[in-house]
């Protein structure tokens, strides 16, 4: 039995899959689901990730079979067929993905078969089996990647300077665009070309040709295990897993060294690291003492939790007390990898590490650490910070009280923004 969840910090599998696919330019999701699933998932995912909506087709413009009682009883195949036909007539796209919701998943409409009727006519219509009950946003992210790998990615000649940058979830990471941009900036300075699939100018062509990459860089401690296997087996692309989006000079430089080692760019990397670290410390120098020492807790997805905990402890001399990982991490080796990252700190005593998705249990865990003076979390966690009258910095999903465009806490430059935001929140 899956756990009862208060104030879930993630959407359903459908929401996650939609967030991924609608973040690719000129890709159109078609829902085969109830009438409200699209609004619930876009408002619940992108809308709560810093108040955004996807840019090409989203929200009210997403086609949907709007399954009602009639479809539940008699099946929704015909309704889906006409929805796809209409979509192709009305909406220009390079690919259409048919997303299955709970209703069609339970009554078992043949979405694959119907999509095939269209691909047989050389129309780019692909099925995605992602009914909400399969899991959370993270599951949807992995399902969408599989759909891309199964249907879009094609074999290609290896390109030594091309890398794929994965692991940052569109929208579910409210800072995804800024994070991609900063990490891309750094990798480009190393002389690489970077596929992200999602940042604006990229699209299906980049997905298709991602098999040419010399390396997949997966910035997550646990996501895309299967996709990484599929790239290796199917296209011979190896993967480097880096456990989270690095924040600050220490982790970002370590990350760069790891990438450089894989690609034989060590010398270039050292010159880049020296320049970037000089840039960061040049700024930090001008605001020494602006922030006083804090005893902090982090409540966030694993990637953010690792990045923030390590930066504040390793680079900024704050004291980690507790880190609560809100991802539905289920493999024990992943939990161990995450725990290692959070506890093997260079300069600080390790925080208590807890895996918890339930809002109420998270608050109880925090209560067991009364010494906390700074809480880094989501909008949900403001409640606890207000109750205890401690500082709160909102940087993890869900974020409903900030607007986020390209702000980032990633890499070298992002760490400066994190310090700025901590100061603004004092």
């Amino acid at each position: 039995m899956s756990a009862i969840t208060e104030a879930p910090r993630g959407n359903c599998a459908l929401g996650g899959a939609n967030a991924v696919l609608s973040a690719i330019d000129k890709v159109v999701p078609i829902y085969h689901a109830g009438p409200g699933c699209c609004m619930q998932t876009t408002a619940g995912e992108a809308g709560q990730a810093g108040g955004r909506s996807p840019f090409y087709v989203s929200g009210v413009s997403t086609p949907c079979s709007n399954m009602l009682e009639h479809e539940v009883v008699f099946g929704g195949a015909d309704r889906l067929r006409e929805t796809i036909e209409g979509t192709i007539e009305i909406i220009e796209a390079e690919a259409y993905f048919v997303l299955e919701g709970c209703t069609s998943g339970i009554i078992a409409d043949d979405v694959k078969g119907i999509a095939k009727e269209f691909t047989d006519r050389k129309l780019p219509v692909y099925p995605v089996e992602c009914p909400g009950f399969l899991g959370e946003s993270c599951r949807g992210y992995e399902i969408a990647f599989k759909a891309l790998l199964d249907n879009i990615v094609e074999p290609a000649e290896r390109e030594a300077d091309l890398v794929n940058l994965f692991g940052i979830m569109p929208y579910h990471d409210p800072f995804w665009e800024g994070n991609f941009e900063e990490m891309t900036r750094i990798l480009e300075r190393l002389g690489l070309r970077v596929n992200t699939f999602f940042t604006r100018r990229q699209g299906l062509a980049d997905v298709r040709g991602s098999s040419a990459a010399a390396l997949n860089i997966i910035l997550s401690p646990w996501l895309l295990k299967d996709a990484s296997e599929q790239y290796r087996k199917g296209f011979g692309v190896p993967s480097l897993r880096w456990p989270g989006v690095p924040i600050g000079a220490t982790d970002t430089s370590a990350f760069l060294r790891a990438v450089a080692k894989e690609l034989g760019l060590e010398e270039k990397a050292e010159r880049l690291i020296a320049a970037e670290e000089d840039y960061v410390y040049g700024y930090l120098e001008t605001a020494i003492g602006a922030l006083t020492w804090k005893r902090f807790a982090v409540v966030a997805d694993s990637s953010t939790a690792i990045g923030v905990t390590r930066f504040l402890a390793n680079d900024y001399s704050f004291t980690p007390i507790a880190t609560i990982v809100t991802d539905p991490v289920f493999r024990s080796e992943d939990k161990e990898r995450i725990t290692r990252q959070l506890t093997e700190l260079e300069h600080a005593k390790p925080p208590a590490v807890v895996f918890e998705t339930d809002g109420w249990k998270i608050a109880r865990e925090l209560e067991s650490h009364p010494e906390i003076t700074l809480l880094v979390g989501s909008t949900n966690d403001r409640e606890y910070a207000m109750e205890k009258d401690i500082q709160c910095c909102v940087i993890a999903y869900p974020i409903t009280d900030r607007l986020v465009f390209n702000r980032t806490y990633a890499g070298y430059r992002g760490s400066l923004t994190l310090v700025e935001d901590l100061y603004d929140n004092l």
Partner: protein
């Protein structure tokens, strides 16, 4: 016509009120068909997503300050409502209550639950909700997933056998139940009416005020004080104890007829609390009609007339000035049916021509059996005839209409549709605040807001040059009703004359 309040589950509006979500014609034609009972909804053979009644039901219930909600479904069905934490906390702050998040638990239905059932899990979630928060009531909402697999929520609550000492009320709001998402308001209000409201112990001078977020609370409280009554706003910011006493009130009003019909009519039928059936208090004619009918219900007719005589002249010159500046503007409206009818009237009072209206659904009558007062007013000479479509927020139709008619401004009440009008380059005003154009001051403020938005159109114009809409050129060459199937007795070409031909 009497409502059947004894049912456990309220029917969707299609079956209860004959509501429709597909129509193309004109305001007069719509009114005529509604009166003679000859209106039949038309289906579309292509749809964009609309909204589910669960969103409306949970949105309504989650803003009650001391209640908790259980959603019996996958986590996705619970996440959106949690986004209202910000609204709830604002309500709590304004009323001096402790600020806390919405108490919202999901049973987190998974694949195996859809095979083996999950009533044990539901009971465990309800118990857990009580143990954790001791709420004043627990509402248990259904989802598509729990309904398709046939979960019996009422039976599960029954099996708790009174172990929870507060009302545990089922809310049947699965998404596939109704195409008209406003049915979710009815599902929520049915739960309140049958499980929360108690028989009156006394009568009070409170007016139940059914609204969305209550931004004009202060102003209305002051206004009502003149008539020796106090408003009780619901559901946002209300409490279970407050709701339990709705039966004691002297009258009920609603800011939106679509929102208020079920609870207003139900309170009148079950407890004799008069439901004020008027136009809504937007603009001058609506405000005065509302005040007069409220005055009649609370026996304050003279006081209301004195108020109108005193206040109305104060805005006359400002209104004249605004009218002269706004005259000749052409507008398109895309809103829910209640607001659509009210804003056709309000824009008319400001001298703006409404060249098209798209309502997200249409109720030919309300639960009392009464016709829609705003529509009666418009069709009875209150406005020129207006080309009218009913569409469940079908964005492709709205875009086509805007592209054909090229209005000066687009009015909506759902930010999602405003985005797309703006991308087409039209000045767009999202009437987010339900009290926009409320009363005399409101119409002046609204006129000023319109003037501002058409005077500086920089954002829309700059945006339109750079944005690429997803719609094909082919679509913009078609009639907007292309995908609306022909319904018997309702020839698709009937509306053509209304906008100067060119159809089919």
């Amino acid at each position: 016509m009497a409502m059947n309040l004894e049912v456990t589950e309220v029917m969707g509006r299609e079956n209860r009120l004959g509501s429709i979500s597909g129509y193309c014609g004109s305001l007069r034609d719509l009114s005529c068909r509604a009166r003679c009972g000859g209106i039949k909804g038309r289906e579309r053979c292509f749809n964009q997503n609309s909204l589910c009644n669960a969103a409306c039901a949970q949105g309504t219930l989650s803003l009650i300050m001391d209640a908790a909600i259980v959603n019996h479904g996958p986590v996705g069905c619970a996440v959106d409502a949690i986004g209202s934490n910000f609204v709830l906390r604002t309500m709590q702050r304004l009323s001096g209550a402790n600020e806390h998040n919405i108490r919202f638990l999901s049973t987190n239905l998974r694949e195996s639950d859809t095979v083996f059932g999950a009533s044990e899990k539901l009971k465990a979630t309800i118990r857990e909700t009580w143990e954790r928060h001791k709420p004043a009531a627990i509402f248990v909402c259904s989802s598509c997933a729990s309904a398709v697999i046939g979960e019996d929520i009422r039976a599960a609550i029954g099996e708790l056998n009174g172990e929870i000492p507060v009302p545990v009320s089922p809310v049947f709001c699965e998404g596939f139940k109704s195409k008209v998402w406003a049915s979710g308001f009815d599902a929520a209000f049915h739960a309140i009416l049958t499980d929360i409201v108690k028989p009156p112990a006394k009568k009070t001078r409170v007016v139940n005020f059914i609204n969305f977020f209550g931004s004009a609370k202060k102003e209305i409280t002051e206004l009502f004080a003149r008539f020796d009554v106090q408003p009780y706003f619901l559901t946002a910011g209300s409490t279970i104890e407050g709701l339990s006493r709705l039966s004691e009130s002297i009258a009920t009003v609603a800011i939106c007829g679509t929102l208020g019909t079920y609870l207003g009519t139900g309170l009148e039928q079950k407890y004799g609390v008069p439901y004020v059936q008027s136009m809504r208090p937007h603009g001058i004619a609506g405000y005065e009609d509302w005040l007069r009918k409220l005055g009649a219900a609370i026996a304050k007719t003279d006081e209301v007339e004195a108020y109108i005589a005193e206040e109305r002249p104060k805005i006359e010159s400002e209104l004249q000035r605004l009218r002269s500046r706004l005259k000749g503007l052409r507008a398109v409206i895309g809103m829910g049916p209640g607001y659509s009818f009210n804003f056709i009237r309000v824009l008319g009072e400001l001298g703006i021509e409404v060249v098209w209206t798209s309502a997200w659904h249409f109720d030919p009558k309300y639960d009392s059996g009464a016709n829609v007062p705003e529509l009666e007013f418009l069709a009875g000479g209150g406005a020129e005839d207006v080309p009218f479509t009913v569409s469940d927020q079908q964005n492709f139709e709205v875009m086509n209409i805007l592209n054909t008619l090229k209005p000066d401004i687009y009015f909506s009440r759902h930010p999602g549709t405003t985005v797309w009008a703006l991308k087409l380059g039209y000045a767009s005003l999202c009437v987010n605040d339900e009290y926009t154009a409320f009363g005399y001051k409101g119409i002046v403020n609204f006129g000023t807001m319109i003037l501002d938005s058409i005077t500086n159109r920089s954002f829309a114009e700059l945006f339109a040059k750079r944005s690429k809409l997803p719609y094909t050129d082919w679509w913009f060459r078609q009639d907007h009703a292309h995908f609306l199937a022909k319904a018997a007795g309702s020839p698709a070409g009937a509306q053509a004359a209304a906008i100067g031909g060119g159809h089919e």
